[in-house]
Symmetry: C2
Subunit: 129 residues, 2 copies
């Protein structure tokens, strides 16, 4: 088999996600370059990053292209896709699929800044067309 498309079983773990973020921000990158942007923040060794990269490739979340003796990695899944999936999973699991209760929750716990409120209002206005 050549390319295993990311099955729904192939979830991206939390540590892997940090690697994905780096690559979503800039790509393609070599392993060492990825390490430069995530190793210190997470207190990881280069070896750890290599493992995470391999697992992400195995899961079909990353693709590689050879560049001399090294590999360049680039995301195969869009950040939007991932973020959307995770968001929906949470809303499904905790709020029965309804987004309003999530919103209410965030609002209650003042997890919403004034900027957020304004932005959301704007979105609503635009949505109402």
């Amino acid at each position: 088999m050549a390319q295993k498309k990311l099955g729904p079983g192939d979830r991206i773990s939390e540590a892997e996600h940090a690697v994905m973020e780096a690559l979503w921000e800039e790509n393609p990158l070599a392993a060492a370059e990825v390490c430069e942007r995530v190793c210190t923040a997470n207190d990881w060794s280069i070896a750890t990053v290599k493992t995470l990269l391999s697992r992400l490739v195995a899961k079909g979340a990353l693709g590689t292209e050879p560049d001399g003796r090294k590999f360049l990695y680039r995301p195969l899944v869009e950040r939007d896709e991932y973020v959307g999936g995770e968001s929906r999973r949470l809303v499904d699991r905790l709020f029965g699929g309804r987004a309003a209760p999530l919103f209410a929750h965030l609002a209650e716990n003042e997890a919403l800044t004034d900027d957020d409120l304004e932005e959301i209002e704007a979105l609503l206005r635009e949505m109402r067309k």
Copy 2:
């Protein structure tokens, strides 16, 4: 030590969460009663439920009171507390702590029903006092 308060390291896993949901909806319940409400839906055996209950007790998420030869389990963490924590974690991880982008995302993918929109508008109105 008698009561270990749920440390932040003691996360509730997905399977465990299903058990918690049952107990949040009705409590206290015995293991067999919990199984009645979650075993068929998840295709679990009673043994699995017992394990999950034990682990939740160990994590400090559930408390027990003896009832004859059996135990009754009841939540020690509020559903709101859990839900709030998980929501914030997601927002932090995926949206840099800002809720507006999450909202935008849900909106884009029409994960928002008309009811949701109305409800959110109402919330906004009320919040603006």
